[in-house]
Symmetry: C2
Amino acid sequence: MNRFQFCVPTDIRFGEGQVACLPEELAKYGKNVLLVYGGGSIKRNGIYDTIRTLLKDFHVCELSGIEPNPKLSSVRKGVALCREHDVDVILAVGGGSCIDASKHIACSVCYDGDPWDLVKDRSKMTKALPVAVVLTICATGSEMNSGAVITNEETNEKLEINGPILYPVLSVCDPTYLYTLPERQTASGTVDIMSHVMEQYFQKNDGAYLTDRLSESVLKTCIHYAPIAMEKPDDYEARSNLMWASTIGLNHLLTVGKGGAWSCHPIEHELSAFYDITHGVGLAIVTPAWMRAVLSEQTEARFAMFARNVWDVTEADDRKAAQLGIEKTAAFFRSLGMPSTLKEVGIGREKFEQMAAEAVRTSGIAARSYVPLDQAAIVKLFESCAE
Amino acid sequence: MNRFQFCVPTDIRFGEGQVACLPEELAKYGKNVLLVYGGGSIKRNGIYDTIRTLLKDFHVCELSGIEPNPKLSSVRKGVALCREHDVDVILAVGGGSCIDASKHIACSVCYDGDPWDLVKDRSKMTKALPVAVVLTICATGSEMNSGAVITNEETNEKLEINGPILYPVLSVCDPTYLYTLPERQTASGTVDIMSHVMEQYFQKNDGAYLTDRLSESVLKTCIHYAPIAMEKPDDYEARSNLMWASTIGLNHLLTVGKGGAWSCHPIEHELSAFYDITHGVGLAIVTPAWMRAVLSEQTEARFAMFARNVWDVTEADDRKAAQLGIEKTAAFFRSLGMPSTLKEVGIGREKFEQMAAEAVRTSGIAARSYVPLDQAAIVKLFESCAE
């Protein structure tokens, strides 16, 4: 079990109606609020009106239209709004995109240069405005962690900033807000949660027994409840368990005592940076392909443990159990309506080399991941799920 | 899944050598430190010297001799020392007793009346000095929660204060500090961890699936590693998993979406308040007796789930599976060298009625626990484990 620091100060308010705490909580920071949201679904489902009513005594300016893969240009717009309106606190209403954009805005406001500088040199990220969240999509875990991923549309780079100043101060998680999610977002959100957990689970450290068991618990929760939420979108129990799974899935709890670079995320980030596909969709394609690519004598024991503890595989032989677990993972993603080939989402072979090179350049996948993969290995992986 | 708030700001520094952070971290609060510890084991194993050397530039005053069930008189002494030396931060070095005494001192310093007033009326607990921790016994979870239990030796009351101002600001958890623990403390600490988890697990809420799975993970960790730590006291992997299990076991994570009053703890608190026995020892006696007492048609499904997911019971019939799980729990405690009757720890029948009445008076056991128990039911429970 590796040494670790765990300090996650975000105040989570979970359950139906918790949004009512906003006026009292936001007032702790000031009266000027930047409201950040996406494409307008919160106007259709009434969440926008609820929040504007709650914030009637605040000065609220808005940044709407945050993209599914939030763009640097949106961050720049947000920074300008914060400076113009002397914003005290940013309120992100949405999923990971809105939260990540808000975090990047929050620290960029306190920095004199261009927001992209903070990606290049994290030492420039020293202060941030407080970010509060009303979660309406569960997937990224950004509501209780210190990371934010932004896409630079000028350079096709999708990269992360991370640091303790980026924890949201408050996250309102109301499972009823998920009732109106399109089926495809429930599905791709679930894949994203499961991928976060698997990225942390498939690492070289074998001594973090408790962390491994906690990870398996989150995976079992996704497997149990995603089909229920797809079938019955207003099932409170299913929505609440999935929502909390997304938070726990990436709030550092499941990386405790472990460590190493991720594998599927850096590969998928290239797909969505170059082709702007939904992150969870890309992960559904890449993850089983990655598992098949890295299964070996060295990794089969952990994949067999995964198969037995997560998928209830009873096969005694490790290699066979591992293979069954991988195929059950792939079948589960397909059962959620996810594609399993790049062709299905309109991605051809033309940029395989370029994307693989970028994945290696911008991440630790070739050096510190569970099974290090170089550019050639990633191209081969793309090939294996091409069509 | 019930509504909940989750906000646990304690900064955990986990792993060998993490104590080195103390000077930098404590300096954030000031130069005057109250060092709180127990019976001197930290002088024998070198932890005391390490800490005094690290704090050579601080003004340190000491409160030693904290009892295994910390007494109100110790709290009063600590408050006097804090006032006399203008203490900025309290450093608890030990287990739950030292941490709980320190928390109670921390908020009593900021209150004008007697420390016991805060137990009677929590609204009087408004401010507290920062408490930092160096953990040397893993059991209570007090290093990452907001509770503190103190015994009033004048009235034989063992009661809790609880509130967000009581979270330690910092907890150093070095598994190597557990290497010198006597076997009996490893055993009783494990029982305490497991009891915390079971108190939260055995509640009426069935919708908190993820929380139940996380709880089972912590229980499995205790069952896996306690025998290893007893056999080989310096097994780092075993000690580190048990240490983190104790923290996770009672830092609110396992009560998320659930709720209700506890059962075994209020019963055991009377045993240790009246007879000053070790908390974990009392729990080892009370817990199986409680399980047998409350097993019924209404509870057998949850006990069967516990048996199957924690103890790998494969029995298909719920009642039989439940019974097997209960007997496996009892057998495990015995395998750790724990007693299973009150007679073994010198407790006779003379105070059964009085202790049962006090348990009902000072807790929610008769109204809000998994299976509400009145005074007569608790006496019957005492009888069932009398000898």
